[in-house]
């Protein structure tokens, strides 16, 4: 099916199973440790690999002495650029060649790969590899290389620039103007499971157990890199311990293991260490964002401009799309957005936790807060006044948009009316207390996905696709869809994911997972319903599926009597006209209350609430968990997370979890997420929209706005750590 028209009433609308807050079907496997992750796969005769990283940011390898490592106990192979095979090339989304030559383009680039009988032997030997470098001057810091900025042009992202009307003139003549610059830091995904792969060859066929979010894409990248046919590659990844974008693309672990396994004719296993993940894999670029907002005296936006700088390797086009939501969130006749990308000699910047919106809204939604204060308007009222009736740049309708109800319902639940708009007025002991809000929005993409559903004579339903579940609940919602569509109890449905021998799927990323894979399954179930109805001699349009039976009029047949040795059907969803003719986003509103210690500047979140609309909610429990997880990311982004670049070495200094801070339990107090009812008839057959990343979008801004309300300090440089607040707090002498 291609999404070219509205969906209309369909079999999911009954919502007997879909939407219910059911426990995860894989929950028991996970809490008992029986869900096996890539590194836990056992294979006889396995060898272990350890990466040696470049310890310079840019330059050449002058010499690399592997003799001591090769002689070390247990070592079977030391791969370097001298003995690695030639590989295909491309940007990080197309290929991932390793050990290609003596050139070092970034810190942490693998320069050798040591393979031994045990992990400990490989690690010990890795320290014996003696690499001598000729260092050259690299460009490392974003802010000091802005003059080298270029217009990026990636094939898989919107154009870098957009313009409507005459921004410059409208801004210059606007009665109320705001011109502010926000910066967000370098961030690391910091997912729990490290990047890991077990690679083995069977003749010319490669099997990889690997932690990867998009298996079909990964297959392609590996084929290009290793120069082997796609059909020869099988990726298996039934469980992934978090990805957050860090496992969207193929990383060095998979390629190094595959190459070594081929040379050694034995399985090779590797997991990056926590410290290695920071440099060897991708991260989110820091951003510098200038926001210019011009309004009339009533607060109606006349001009809105958002300029963004981010960095990446010279060979990459990917940019951090921090201004993308600014193209669609608020009304206004004159608009300008620009993304500039600065070529830098640091590791690859790529997608992380709502790329674009996550950091874009931390600037835009704080600028809106600043603007509201300038106008002496309530921040919600300012947003209401700028609610667009259609997409202000594309001039197409929204598929569905309920931002205002989210804000209003959130305000009611949170007690927004008790907010004193004047900062620094509320205290609780040492704590200056403030509340803030921000809007949430995240695009709703749909990607090609296929599924197969099968009903066996014993009544078992098996769903198969090369989809992944990165901890979000995909297994569960897919089981719910199949159970609902075929009138089966949940226990009868077995969902099998994470294997490229199954039908091609979109994978998990960009909030497209549930909509794309769920719709493919919906289509497959529809096809199976039709087959079953026909077999039963019933009209597929009126047949009802319940309690393991199909019924029409007063006739009823057990499904198990109809399937013979088993009956299956395929389904497919493709994006279509709807994805061009409608502006599709999920929406929400965040509310946060924080305390700022008036002496030390320590900020602690006291409570948070997110109210969202995202079309049909497929499982109320996993949706809420996902939203809360995103809000926790928001706390991290506002208060904690930052990779610090040392420009002398071109590396991230705090590359471990002791010093790269993410929120811990004690940082997350009273937090809740609520979804308001909505169905989106234009998005996909499920009438759902993406929720994967919605929770993070705007969450950090609501905290920053609450900090301002608490103590009157507007910090435009994230994260808001106490050192930035100290000088803005009451004097203590």
């Amino acid at each position: 099916m291609e999404m070219n028209s509205p969906i209309g009433p369909n079999a999911l609308d009954a919502q007997r199973i879909v939407g219910k807050p059911l426990d995860r079907v894989d929950g028991r496997l996970k809490v008992t440790g029986s869900a096996r992750y890539a590194y836990e796969m056992q294979q006889e005769n396995t060898l272990y690999g350890f990466v040696v990283e470049a310890s310079i940011g840019k330059g050449r390898i002058v010499s690399i002495d592997t003799r001591a490592a090769e002689k070390a106990p247990g070592v079977e192979l030391v791969l370097t650029h001298r003995n690695a095979p030639a590989q295909g090339t491309g940007n990080h989304r197309d290929a991932h060649p390793v050990l290609t030559g003596p050139q070092v383009t970034r810190y942490g680039q693998p320069v050798a790969f040591v393979v031994a009988e045990s992990f400990e032997q490989a690690r010990a030997a890795a320290y014996l590899v003696d690499v001598k470098y000729d260092r050259s001057n690299g460009k490392y810091a974003l802010h000091s290389n802005l003059d080298k900025a270029r217009v990026p042009n990636p094939s898989d992202a919107p154009a870098a620039d957009s313009a409507v009307g005459d921004f410059a003139r409208a801004f210059a003549s606007a009665p109320v103007q705001l011109d502010v610059t926000y910066t967000t830091p370098l961030q690391s995904h910091a997912m729990m499971e490290p990047h890991a792969t077990l690679a083995m060859w069977d003749g010319d066929n490669l099997i990889l157990h690997t932690a990867n979010q998009m298996l079909n894409q990964g297959q392609q990248v590996i084929a290009t890199t290793l120069k082997i046919p796609v059909e020869n590659i099988r990726l298996i990844s039934p469980f992934i311990g978090g990805g957050f974008g860090g496992k969207l693309w193929v990383n060095a672990d998979a390629i190094l293991a595959a190459i070594a396994a081929r040379q050694l004719k034995r399985p090779v296993k590797i997991a990056l260490t926590r410290q290695q993940i920071f440099h060897v894999t991708t991260h989110r670029s820091d951003t510098i964002q200038r926001l210019r907002l011009g309004t009339d005296s009533e607060g109606r936006i006349l001009a809105i401009g958002h300029d963004v700088f981010s960095g990446n390797l010279p060979s990459e086009q990917t940019y951090e799309g921090a201004a993308l939501q600014t193209r669609t969130l608020y009304a206004g006749p004159n608009r300008l957005t620009q993304h500039r990308q600065v070529p830098l000699d640091i590791p690859v910047a790529s997608s992380m936790r709502a790329p674009g919106e996550a950091v874009g809204l931390m600037a835009l939604e704080c600028a809106m807060d600043e603007l509201a204060e300038k106008l002496n308007l309530d921040p919600i009222e300012l947003r209401v006044r700028n609610e667009p009736s259609e997409d202000p740049e594309k001039h197409i309708p929204y598929s569905s948009r309920h931002l205002i109800p989210c804000m209003q319902e959130g305000a009611r639940r949170f007690g927004w009316d008790k907010r004193n708009p004047k900062p620094g007025q509320v205290r609780d002991g040492r704590w200056l207390v403030g509340i803030g809000m921000a809007a949430a929005t995240r695009g709703n993409p749909l990607l090609l996905s296929k599924a197969n559903v099968r009903l066996d004579p014993d009544g078992t339903c098996i769903v198969r696709m090369a989809m992944t579940d990165i901890g979000t609940g995909t297994y569960t919602i897919l089981a719910q869809i199949a159970a609902e569509m075929l009138g089966l109890p949940m226990e009868r449905v077995k969902v099998e994911l994470g294997d490229t021998i199954f039908p091609q799927a979109a994978g998990s990323g960009g909030s497209w997972g549930a909509g794309s894979s769920g719709s493919a399954l919906f289509e497959a179930c529809n096809a199976l319903r039709e087959k079953l109805a026909r077999t039963a001699g019933m009209d597929p349009a009126t047949a009802r599926f319940a309690n393991g039976s199909i019924a029409s009029g007063d006739q009823s047949r057990k499904l198990t009597d109809l399937v013979g040795v088993g009956m299956d059907a395929d389904g497919e969803i493709r994006p279509g006209r709807n994805n061009k003719d409608f502006s599709q986003q999920s929406y929400g509103a965040h509310f946060a209350e924080v305390g700022v210690d008036e002496d030390t500047g320590e900020v602690r979140v006291r409570r948070m609430l997110g109210v969202f609309t995202a079309g049909r909610v497929l499982n109320a429990k996993t949706a809420r968990s996902q939203a809360i997880g995103g809000m926790v990311f928001g706390v991290g982004a506002a208060l904690h997370e930052e990779m610090t670049l040392d420009p002398r070495f071109g590396y991230f200094v705090n590359h471990d979890l002791a010093e790269y801070h993410v929120p811990v339990h004690a940082d997350i107090p009273d937090i809740d997420a609520v979804f308001l009812a909505e169905l989106d008839d234009q998005s996909n057959p499920l009438k759902s929209k993406g929720i994967g990343e919605l929770g993070i979008c705007g969450a950090g801004a609501s905290i920053a706005n609450a900090i301002y309300n608490a103590c009157g300090a507007r910090i435009r440089d994230y994260p808001i750590t106490l050192d930035k607040l100290l000088s803005r707090l009451p004097v203590r002498t």
Binding site: S55, P73, E120, R123, A124, Y127, T273, Q275, R430, D597, D599, T600, G601, E602, R604, L639, H640, T644, D646, R648, F649, V653, N654, H655, D656, A658, E659, H661, P663, V664, H665, A666, D667, T721, L722, D723, L726, S727, L729, R732, T733
Partner: protein, 326 residues
């Protein structure tokens, strides 16, 4: 991690004899040592495991103090009724440190001897005088947000990361040791830690092979005890600045005060002059200010950590205001 041999000590004397050999290293909880070994910051060739030694008791001493065996785990020490009742500052400091899992493993002696969290120290590809004497100090002109502002040298600006040691410093703890010859020694904590000077690799006054057996606490001084840790997140973060305070106040006047600081120097920081200055003065902003001046005498920031100077002042104000109010 380099290959190493492992031996389990059956007696303190045996442990000391093994520990004095080149390349030997004591392992207690292992929560710091093993991390450093994985990164080859520490490369012992022989590990001497002391976990079976009978050094895990907390006993009252005849003078009314407490003797804490070196193998007492941080969580047990924090939960001990004597400690909670009479040495609240120590219990609080312990519970402000690390995480529950780490505290269950971490020992008293290991905590005292845990090494700095300086990022460059943790990465063997970077210059660091403490790890590799003479190689330079990458933190000096680098990222030094968590580094020291007091007692630094041009060779090293690392801090000692322990919370527990800060409270012990305020409590005038003594470190008991034994060496290979079986000779015991009692080292006042004020003399236990060293400033970096031009030998930042030497951190304490312990001699090679000298083993910590216990820490003793004299009876607590009068007054209210308080530990305040300022950090970047609510838990599981090292102190940017911490204060262990024991202040005796009556009718708005301070009778006596003890103040020790963490996060500021290569060792827990205590300034006699600041404490004496507070004694017999009214509890007000002026006296707090004078105390802060005395504590921060000679303080110097290195850009990234400049904020620690005003932060210390503000935190001290806050602590003294709170403690003299109660």
């Amino acid at each position: 991690m380099k290959a190493f041999t492992y031996q389990r000590a059956d007696s303190t004397a045996q442990a000391a004899a093994a520990a004095v050999k080149p390349g030997a290293k004591i392992i207690a909880g292992g929560t710091n040592l093993l991390d450093l070994m994985k990164l080859q910051v520490e490369t012992p060739s022989n590990l001497v495991d002391i976990n079976r030694l009978p050094l895990d008791k907390i006993e009252e001493t005849p003078d009314g103090g407490l003797r804490i065996g070196t193998l007492v785990r941080n969580s047990d020490l924090a939960a001990d009724p004597h400690v909670r009742q009479r040495y609240g500052v120590l219990s609080r400091a312990l519970l402000a440190g690390a995480s529950a899992q780490l505290r269950n493993k971490a020992t008293t002696g290991g905590n005292l001897l845990q090494r700095t969290r300086c990022y460059y120290f943790y990465d063997v590809t970077k210059p660091c005088n403490k790890r590799s004497p003479g190689s330079g100090c990458a933190a000096l002109a680098g990222f030094n947000r968590i580094h020291a502002v007091l007692g630094t040298s041009e060779h090293c600006i690392a801090t000692h990361p322990s919370d527990m040691a800060v409270a012990m410093q305020a409590l005038d703890a003594k470190v008991e040791t034994v060496n290979r010859q079986g000779e015991t020694k009692v080292i006042p904590i004020a003399e236990f830690y060293r400033l970096p000077g031009n030998t930042p690799e030497i951190e304490t006054s312990l001699k090679s092979g000298e083993i910590i057996t216990a820490v003793t606490l004299p009876p607590p001084p009068p007054g209210v005890q308080l530990y305040r840790k300022v950090r970047d997140r609510a838990s599981y973060a090292f102190a940017l600045v911490s204060v262990a305070a024991i202040v005796d106040t009556a009718h708005g006047r301070i009778r006596s005060a003890r103040l020790a600081f963490g996060g500021l120097a290569h060792r827990p920081w205590r300034v006699a002059q600041a404490e004496q200055g507070l004694a017999n003065t009214p509890a007000n902003t002026a006296t707090f200010n004078a105390a802060a001046d005395a504590v921060l005498e000679g303080a110097r920031g290195y850009v990234g950590n400049d904020f620690k100077i005003p932060l210390t002042r503000r935190t001290l104000h806050s602590v003294l205001a709170e403690i003299t109010r109660t």
